[in-house]
């Protein structure tokens, strides 16, 4: 009786070599398979890459406008004392940190800061929505009230019913928040409103005390002047005494920004000179706006010369270089600000894959798996004799199956690599075009490496899954098939 031992496995190196040779042997079909994988992976990877690039550019843009956002937050905080709408704005946009939460809680009389913020944000949303409606619609809906008046008016249940009926007859106007949220907001509105008024009044009293230092100017004016004269710390001390905290970095940024705002105010004052305002349109065929004049003159000697000439005798105080510098900086800030905002809307929440793209990627993966499976199956059926011969030579079922899974995986890896290369072409080049040097300054190498890993993994998984059935067919092929003569 002979002893039957377990069959030895083919070593990995040998398997890889057979796979490589098999792929090379059917170069055209392998190429098609690899191309299918590469396309699917390129689609996935380019979408992800575009999102990563967009996010990196957004972060960079936000970073560029950090000074300005600290400054504007500070101003909003100051303005929160100037009326209920501004107070809502301040609350809705207040940063999500412990100090603000403490402030809000103090102001909100014990309510949780998160719920409070949400309430403020929703109220602001409804107000904004209403105020941006066409005037005709506003009249029809609520007799041309202002946003805050609308909420006051709606707090009364019978008005709410009337409003709902009118809204139902106006399909173009759609509430920005769900009806039940609005109702919840309105139910508590009167209390909230009373508290808002109280807070505003209290803040106004404090502001008066604060403003006495700078009377009779507006608080921001006071800040700008204080910053320009290096005395901004005094303002912050006052503000802090009134319950608003800013870090030293933020204070420096706000002071810097305030100086710039002062320069900007000076520059804009020049553009508002009657001589400029009157002659601009005729000279440059452009609608006049102070910002437009400032931006378009930056770095344009011809326009600067024209402004100086138009100013006539006043031009003695006009510094062309300063004006141009401020214009340039203003333009850069505005661009960065807009880029940050638009990129936030585009990539802010879901890392760049929206539902539609997600479906497309899913379908492309499905097509890819079916395509590879088909190609592999053809390869298996075409090689029936080779497979059966190997079985006659003593190959185990598993060995044959592994051979095909390996072959598919190798093509998946290759396709994944090609797809990632394609994604670089399809996403990075346009990204550089769109985001410009902002992207170069903050190129997300780490993020792209992640995308590459993901792409390779996806290629391997797709090709592995696709190879399961063909490998099963191959491994179950009877050795007898070797005898078939074609």
């Amino acid at each position: 009786m002979l002893e039957i031992r377990e069959q030895t496995r083919l070593p990995l190196g040998k398997l890889l070599r057979i796979c490589r040779l098999s792929i090379a042997h059917r170069l055209l079909r392998s190429f098609v398979t690899v191309a299918i994988i590469a396309l699917a992976i390129a689609f996935l990877a380019s979408t992800l890459t575009a999102a990563r690039l967009g996010l990196a550019a957004r972060d960079e843009a936000v970073r560029e406008t950090r000074d300005f956002s600290a400054y504007s937050r500070f101003l909003t905080a100051l303005q929160a004392w100037s009326g209920p709408a501004a107070a809502l704005d301040w609350m809705a946009s207040a940063p999500d940190d412990a100090a603000t939460a403490a402030n809000l809680q103090e102001w909100g009389g014990g309510e949780s800061a998160g719920a409070f913020r949400l309430q403020a944000a929703e109220a602001r949303q409804v107000m904004n929505w209403f105020e941006t409606l066409p005037p005709g619609s506003r009249v029809l809906l609520a007799e041309n009230r202002s946003g805050i008046e609308l909420l006051d008016w709606l707090a009364e249940p019978k008005n709410r019913k009337r409003f709902a009926t009118r809204l139902a007859g106006m399909p173009s106007a759609k509430l920005p928040i769900p009806t039940e949220r609005l109702n919840a907001l309105l139910d508590g509105w009167l209390g909230f409103r009373a508290w808002l008024g109280e807070m505003t009044a209290g803040r106004n009293r404090r502001l008066e005390a604060l403003a006495q230092n700078f009377a009779p100017r507006k608080p921001e004016q006071a800040l700008i002047e204080a910053a320009a004269s290096g005395e901004s710390e005094r303002i912050f001390a006052d503000v802090e005494a009134n319950g608003l905290a800013f870090s030293p970095d933020e204070r420096r940024a706000i002071a810097r920004e305030a100086v710039f705002e002062a320069q900007l105010a000076v520059a804009l004052a020049w553009t508002r000179e009657p001589a400029i305002r009157a002659g601009w349109n005729a000279e440059f065929q452009e609608d006049f706006s102070p910002a437009r004049v400032l931006e378009s003159s930056a770095g344009s000697p011809q326009r600067l010369r024209w402004i100086k000439e138009r100013l006539g005798e006043k031009s003695a105080g006009f510094n062309e270089k300063e004006f141009s510098d401020v214009g340039e900086q203003f333009q850069r800030r505005r661009e960065a600000f807009e880029a940050g905002k638009s990129l936030s809307t585009r990539y802010g929440t879901q890392a760049g894959i929206d539902t539609r793209t997600g479906w497309l990627i899913g379908v492309s993966f499905l097509v890819c798996v079916v395509g590879i499976a088909n190609a592999m199956l053809m390869s298996v059926l075409e090689r029936f004799k080779e497979i059966a011969t190997m079985k006659c030579l003593g190959a185990r079922n598993e060995t044959i199956g592994f051979l095909f899974i390996f072959e598919s995986l190798a093509m998946g890896l290759l396709g994944g690599a090609l797809g990632i290369a394609g994604a670089v072409l399809f996403a990075v080049l346009p990204g550089l075009w769109i985001h410009g040097d902002r992207l170069l300054r903050a190129f997300p190498f780490g993020g792209l490496a992640e995308v590459a890993d993901l792409g390779l993994a996806a290629g391997l998984i797709l090709s592995g899954v696709a190879a399961i059935y063909p490998a099963m067919v191959a491994s179950r092929m009877a050795p007898l098939e070797a005898m078939r003569v074609d």
Binding site: M1, L2, I4, R5, E6, Q7, T8, L10, P11, K14, I18, L21, S22, A24, H25, K385, E386, A388, T389, M390, K391, C392, L393, G394, A395, R396, N397, T399, A478, P479, L480, A482, M483, V485, D486
Partner: protein, 259 residues
């Protein structure tokens, strides 16, 4: 070419007669089912093949010749009956054990050579040794010596495409010998080859049989092959119609003669 049956008196090769039985079948039945219809390709075949024999299997198509051939080659398992290859009942083995038998005990030679097209001659010979667990270096040395034996040592790095039909068949023979099998199973090994090359292959097989003591079972229609064999199994209607010793027949090999 003609063949005549002689009277069963002459001497047979005593070597094969005295050696132990290598393949033994007993009442082997093989049924193929296609839906309701069952076809009996073999209906109870019993035979013995001894070590060192050169057996030719003959029969018209549809006679069950291929089925008989595949059953004793452990390529298919019989529906009933016993097939003992080297004292192991093939019908009782699972697929991994069958793979082991095919790897170590039997060498296969096919009509269309069946080399792996992506591999070189040497690698083709080495594949079955790798399946048997022989180390890479040992397999290389043995592969080269086998190629030398079939006269293709200097073509070791040629792929099947770069070899002629006869050369491919010789590589296939080298491959079938890689794990020192007791049995060589040849399926029409000369059918795709021209006269001269076919003769070379036959000479090679005969040399392996006579000098190497390898048992050869050969399905063939080539009279030159039959001329060299010890016994002929005639299969008809799923049964062994008759078994003749080489000495019982006369094979006349001749070209076309003018009357």
């Amino acid at each position: 070419m003609t063949m005549e049956t002689k009277s069963p008196s002459s001497t047979s090769r005593s070597v094969a007669r005295r050696s132990p039985v290598l393949i033994r079948t007993r009442d082997v039945v093989k049924e193929y089912r296609k839906g309701e219809v069952a076809t009996r390709a073999l209906q109870g075949v019993t035979c013995e093949i001894r070590r060192g024999e050169f057996v030719a299997v003959m029969g018209p198509s549809g006679s069950g010749k291929s089925t008989f051939f595949n059953v004793i080659g452990a390529l298919i398992t019989p529906s009933s009956g016993r097939v003992l290859v080297d004292e192991v009942d093939v019908a009782q083995l699972n697929r991994d054990e069958l793979a082991y038998i095919r790897c170590k005990k039997i060498g296969y030679i096919f009509q269309s050579y069946n080399l792996v097209p992506a591999l070189t001659a040497l690698e083709n010979v080495m594949v079955s040794m790798r399946f048997a667990g022989v180390l890479e270096d040992d397999a290389r040395v043995k592969g080269m010596s086998l190629l030398e034996r079939v006269g293709l040592k200097d073509r070791w790095d040629h792929t099947p495409k770069q070899l002629s039909g006869g050369q491919q068949q010789r590589v296939a023979i080298a491959r079938s010998l890689a794990n020192d099998p007791r049995i060589l199973l040849c399926d029409e090994p000369t059918a795709n080859l021209d006269h001269k090359t076919g003769q070379d292959i036959i000479d090679l097989l005969v040399a392996l049989n006579k000098d190497g003591g390898v048992t050869i079972i050969c399905a063939t229609h080539d009279y030159r092959m039959i001329d060299q064999c010890d016994r002929i199994f005639w299969i008809r209607d799923g049964l062994i119609d008759k078994i003749q010793n080489r000495s019982e027949i006369t094979v006349r090999l001749a070209g076309i003669e003018e009357k």
